[in-house]
């Protein structure tokens, strides 16, 4: 018994009136959340324990969702610009007026030339819907943010093994014994990686972090490899060198499941050089060791030759992929001693890591007593596991050599036989799905006034590129042209620059959603702001009209002519769809919804906002887009929820897979169910369809998996495939650059395509590094996403901004010593393009040639309802000002994009700089980006959240 004078404590207070379960949107991870409501307000948000993504946990961003939801930076009503662009001077207008303005403008564009609309959506989680809208409009100019995020990762994964990391798959956390994580600070994906790392620690598995900076996941890794930016492929291919040299590759796996034995034509100078030898049915050939002749690959997998030069009956010489691969990587250029200096990783470390990979994969292999049948009809008694796994993200992909670097990781995985096996890397449905399972790009206007198919796809070869009859690019971002032939996510980062330059053509309206392109989402930020403000001789803006939808008063809002205020994530319908980027796990297909757990009009005085997708349903109908009107011309989808439930992409297959059919008892395939959203809400906001036990591994070649995938509507027919160590698509583009075929690149791009489109992964020097004087710019500079802020870049969040309200430039100790810099000093940092002057902090746990800072902390004065003296303004800064969307001029008069030459991925992390001490402190970092007027005022002085309940 407590003493009598001990105060009484209420141990069972009321928590909330009701719990509503929906999906988080504080970053891209799509965790399940329980939103506790009290008196109609959000009392508390916690992770949903039943949810497949986060299993109850929630990160700092997720828990700070309350402050995002009630942010003073929320837009309240539609806005029409009344001052100059960038000033932030607006008048509030009604939705009717806003939609009328948009309809008039876009109606004219559509009647005149639909491609004069450029519709780009940033961190959009409704891309299958927004792209459908753009197809219906008839513009070829649509993409989301993948081009400036991680398209290298996505595309390399699709072309190599039928999927990449993160949304495509994950390590087998329960079985893997050695895990290597490349180029990941604390971001994608957030909670699942933390849960996974924890599980690995619990199980005693080894974690190796490969990253120039030793924070976050790299700080807790058992081993940190502080690689020099842009050299990861050299490091990886050196591991490959060691493994091949030691014979530590999984030959059985390579023969059965990869194109290692496929025969490649060796015919220099001819149009078929580097292409696969195929039979009359198009089936790739291998060389039978038993019969000493070429046979179809499917017919003779284990008996195929892996080395040798053979002559086909038609006289052409051929060699197995593996022969070329082994010769290539056995070359001493990949020997550890020869890459150590460039990578900053010692030869001894590379050797040891190769040995550990080999030891773990082959000496510690695991077997599951799970029989299964492969698509070739062979029954296997067990599943054999190679318990090494990998994960990689933006640090690998955001380089001009990123596509090949990502390919290098996948080739390493395949050589170890560790893809889709126990303990290795596992795909999440609907992946694996190779290039052939995706559409090719589309860009042609049909007679119906719509586009001829989905904008974004995976090119098969030069025939997939998008050109007009006169040879000019179809798309404003020049995606799918010779500048970036395999730009599977488009090039959002080139849209403003190209539209401003009228290259390849002028547009009328730039329509964007959730993309802060006037700030942290653009390279050359100040230059982009000037492009948005720039006028032609007639006094008209060079980019004539900008419509933008956002929930908050961002920097981009100030540069918009018409602003459509979006809801917060707690007020909207969304579907995280199998047609798009679902929430699946390796063991299950899964999708999820958001729904209005609170209604916008109850969450702020006179607030009149609409979910962007619902606004598009209305706008689409007003414009008469075919799929958005009924036969009588009236609006077809009342709102986004109506579309989610009733739209069918293919018969029986719609945005949501759960509870289909009139009675709601069908999974995957079935007629629309009017009660579908209710069923999702009852179930916690998500649906899960478990992958059968026998289908859990080898999905790409597992008959049971293929049949299950067809049953639930992932595909319409089984689609097994062979993993591609060697990418023939690259060989096709390379042959075009050698002058073969009907479509060939312009002369100035040929050498670059020949050099970089190697069908086997290579390393080449990042373009900016190759184009500047490295003695003058001796350092690398990169950004990382902070765990507590990434993607919830809104510094208007009263809680998160106390954690990350400023971002010093972290400078390696040895660089500090050389330049006389200490904590709190200011420094000029200069690239070939520009200079910033910023506060610095010393750090030793970093690659000695690399400066870095947190991404997207700095804010423009007047944005986000912050005070003019907010630390985000006076101390926070963007590295973006140093990065140009174009490479340094080469003297040839051409504009060379600062992008990967294969996919067009923005090469953020190729940046080279120099540093010198500056007089400080300054009032704010330089350059000065001016000030915008806040259309929403400023936030309150004090927040006492929850006072009504305490």
């Amino acid at each position: 018994m407590p003493p009598l004078d001990e105060p009484h404590v209420e141990l069972s207070p009321t928590v909330s009136d009701e719990i509503r379960r929906t999906t988080c949107y504080m970053c891209a991870c799509r965790c399940g959340i329980n939103v506790h409501l009290r008196d109609g307000l959000v009392r508390y948000i916690e992770g949903n324990k039943d949810h497949p993504v986060n299993r109850g946990v929630l990160c700092a961003k997720g828990s700070a969702g309350i402050m995002q939801h009630y942010s003073p930076a929320r837009l309240m009503k539609p806005l029409k610009r009344v001052g100059p662009r960038g000033s932030g001077e607006f008048e509030e207008i009604s939705w009717e007026e806003a939609l009328t303005l948009a309809t008039e403008r876009l109606g004219k564009v559509r009647a005149d030339d639909p491609k004069k609309l450029a519709f780009f959506t940033g961190r959009d989680q409704s891309q299958s819907f927004t792209s459908f809208w753009a197809q219906q409009f008839g513009t070829p100019n649509y993409a989301a943010h993948g081009g400036f995020c991680s398209v290298n990762m996505a595309a390399a994964g699709i072309y190599t093994m039928g999927g990449a990391f993160w949304e495509f798959g994950s390590p087998d956390w329960e079985r893997t014994k050695m895990f290597m994580i490349f180029g990941v600070a604390e971001d994608h994906d957030s909670n699942p990686i933390k849960l996974g790392l924890s599980r690995l620690k619990e199980r005693g598995a080894k974690i190796v972090g490969v990253n120039p900076v030793r924070t976050g996941y790299n700080a807790i890794a058992d081993e940190w490899v502080g690689v020099t930016p842009g050299t990861d492929a050299l490091f990886i291919l050196s591991l490959v060198h060691e493994l091949v040299k030691a014979g530590k590759v999984d030959l059985d796996y390579l023969l059965r499941y990869t194109n290692a034995p496929w025969l490649v034509v060796d015919n220099p100078g001819a149009p078929d050089d580097g292409m696969f030898a195929r039979d009359q049915h198009g089936e790739p050939l291998v060389w039978s060791r038993k019969y000493d002749e070429a046979v179809p690959a499917k017919a003779n997998r284990l008996g195929a030759a892996m080395k040798g030069v053979f002559t086909l009956n038609d006289g052409r010489n051929v060699r197995p992929v593996f022969h070329t691969l082994a010769e290539k990587y056995l070359d001493t250029q990949y020997a550890p001693e020869n890459v150590a200096e460039a990578t900053g990783v010692s030869a001894a470390t590379i050797r040891r890591l190769a040995a550990e990979l080999a030891y773990t994969a082959f000496e510690e292999s695991i077997e599951l007593d799970q029989p299964w049948t492969d698509v070739y009809g062979e029954r296997h008694a067990k599943m054999i596991g190679r318990p090494v796994s990998f994960h990689a993200m933006r640090g690998i992909s955001a380089h001009s050599n990123g596509f090949q670097t990502c390919r290098a990781i996948h080739v390493l995985q395949l050589l170890l036989g560790s893809v889709e096996v126990p303990g290795g890397f596992r795909f999440k449905p609907p992946y694996p799905k190779p290039m052939e399972g995706h559409p090719a790009p589309h860009g042609t206007l049909t007679d119906a006034g719509t586009l001829n198919g989905p904008h974004l796809g995976y090119p098969r070869g030069p025939e997939s590129l998008l050109f007009e009859d006169d040879g000019s690019p179809t798309r404003i971002d020049k995606a799918y042209t010779w500048d970036a032939p395999m730009s599977a996510h488009g090039l959002m980062h080139m849209v403003i620059s190209n539209a401003h330059a009228g290259d390849p053509y002028k547009i009328d309206t730039l329509f964007m959603y959730m993309a802060n392109m006037a700030w942290n989402s653009s390279m050359n930020t100040r230059g982009v702001m000037e492009m948005l403000e720039d006028k032609d001789e007639d006094g008209e803006y060079k980019i004539p009209y900008i419509i933008y939808s956002d929930a908050y008063s961002s920097e981009m809002v100030a540069y918009s002519d018409l602003v459509l205020p979006d809801t917060t994530y707690l007020e909207r319908h969304d579907c995280i769809s199998l047609l798009d980027r679902p929430i699946c796990e390796p063991e299950a297909a899964a999708d999820a919804i958001r729904w209005p757990v609170v209604e916008p009009e109850t969450q702020g005085y006179e607030r009149d906002v609409r979910g962007f997708q619902s606004a598009l349903c209305d706008l689409g109908a007003r414009l008469g887009l075919p799929a958005f009107v009924k036969e009588d011309g009236s609006q077809k989808w009342a709102d986004y929820a109506d579309y989610i439930v009733n739209h069918e992409r293919r018969p029986g297959v719609g945005p949501l897979a759960g509870w289909r059919g009139e009675d709601g008892d069908a999974d995957g395939r079935g007629a629309p169910n009017p009660k579908q959203l209710e069923k999702y809400i009852e179930n916690g906001g998500f649906w899960v369809g478990h992958v059968p036990e026998e289908a859990q591994f080898y999905k790409f070649a597992n008959q049971h998996y293929q049949d299950w995938a067809v049953k639930i509507g992932l595909f319409d027919a089984p689609a097994p495939y062979t993993m591609q160590l060697y990418t023939e698509t690259l060989a096709k583009f390379r042959n075009a650059a050698r002058g073969h075929g009907e479509r060939v690149p312009p002369q100035h791009l040929r050498e670059r395509i020949i050099d970089t489109f190697d069908p086997l992964p290579i390393w080449y020097e990042p373009f900016e590094q190759a184009g500047v004087d490295n003695d003058e710019y001796p350092l690398h500079a990169i950004t990382q996403r902070p765990a507590a802020m990434y993607h919830s870049w809104g510094s208007q969040n009263a809680w998160l901004r106390q954690i990350h309200g400023r971002n010093p430039l972290y400078v390696p100790g040895e660089v500090c010593d050389a330049h006389g810099l200490k904590d709190g000093d200011w420094a000029h940092v200069t690239s070939h393009h520009g200079q910033i002057t910023v506060p610095v902090a010393r750090m030793d746990a970093v690659n000695g040639k690399t400066l870095w800072t947190w991404n997207a902390i700095g804010k423009r004065k007047g944005a986000w309802a912050l005070s003019d003296g907010a630390p985000e303004v006076t101390k926070g800064f963007l590295l973006n000002h140093l990065i140009h969307e174009l490479l340094p001029p080469k003297g040839d008069g051409l504009r060379w994009a600062n992008s990967d030459p294969i996919t067009g991925q923005a090469a953020w992390y190729d940046l080279r700089v120099k540093i010198e001490k500056a007089d400080g402190p300054l009032d704010a970092p330089l350059p000065d980006t001016g000030k915008q007027k806040s259309p929403v005022g400023k936030g309150p002085d004090e927040v006492r959240y929850g006072e009504e309940w305490t």
Partner: protein, 254 residues
């Protein structure tokens, strides 16, 4: 002056695993959002959107850079490391914050050892914050009362939430599972077992406060280990080189 209980039957507290804390601040914010609408006054934020935002938090994560050296000033023996260190009230057995309190507002519960502030009696004098060697107490800027970790006393016994969720908010949310809650007086509890197995330690034991919370140290890193695996010893290619080995290996496959 306020007295401490002679002893408590249970010693509820946290065990924090520094080997797995990635410094993500999930615990920090989950704590704030639970407690700002819970026990006592809200955890207010001053100048919330202004030049110098500052608020009260019951749990913070500090990040340190550590360079391993044989002795101070000596050359580094391994690359610098980053350690994330979450810190909140440690619910000390000999809590100086309680004994220093002039009003009896600070107290340690005799039942479970949780140290709390009875805000009705708190005069905001701040002596307890001075007395705490860990800096684990924060004066709320609006209410001018002392705020501190309650170990979510309004969750752990709360019959309005599911039994499995009756743990502190920081523990429930931690994505890396670096935080554990339990009775450190019970040698058989999971947390006590963890402390025994992993060499859990007291923060600043020389202060004599006998903290209940324990920290589990980071495990040795690769830099600290010897005896690497040698690929040459595993390698199969012998004198015939890689392509010769390939022939042998393919023959074995059939």
């Amino acid at each position: 002056m306020t007295s401490l209980p002679q002893s408590t039957d249970r010693k509820l507290g946290l065990v924090i695993d520094l080997d797995i804390c990635v410094g993500c601040h999930a615990c920090v914010v989950a704590c704030k959002e639970w407690n700002t609408g819970g026990y006592g006054a809200p955890l207010s934020d001053q100048d919330a959107y202004g030049d110098e935002p500052v608020g009260s938090w019951l749990n913070r994560v500090h990040t340190f850079e550590v360079t391993p050296r044989a002795e101070p000033g000596a050359k580094a023996v391994a690359p610098a490391r980053v350690v994330h260190f979450p810190k909140s009230c440690l619910h000390c057995e000999d809590a100086p914050c309680v004994t220093v309190c002039p009003t009896g507002a600070s107290f340690k519960r005799s039942d479970d050892g949780i140290v709390l502030v009875n805000e009705d009696w708190c005069i905001g004098c701040g002596l307890c914050a001075w007395a705490c060697p860990y800096g684990a107490r924060e004066m709320d800027g609006a209410e001018k009362v002392m705020k501190k970790c309650t170990l979510c006393v309004d969750r752990i016994y709360n019959e309005n939430i599911p039994e499995e969720d009756r743990v502190p908010s920081c523990v429930r949310t931690c994505p890396a599972k670096a935080r554990h809650f339990g009775d450190l007086a019970d040698p058989d509890s999971d947390v006590s077992q963890m402390v025994a197995e992993r060499g859990g330690y007291d923060l600043m034991p020389e202060q004599g406060t006998k903290p209940v919370n324990k920290y589990l140290p980071p495990r040795p890193k690769q830099d600290d280990l010897a005896e690497p695996i040698n690929l040459a010893a595993l390698a199969e290619p012998k004198a015939t080189g890689f392509l010769g080995w390939l022939d042998d290996a393919l023959t074995r496959i059939g």
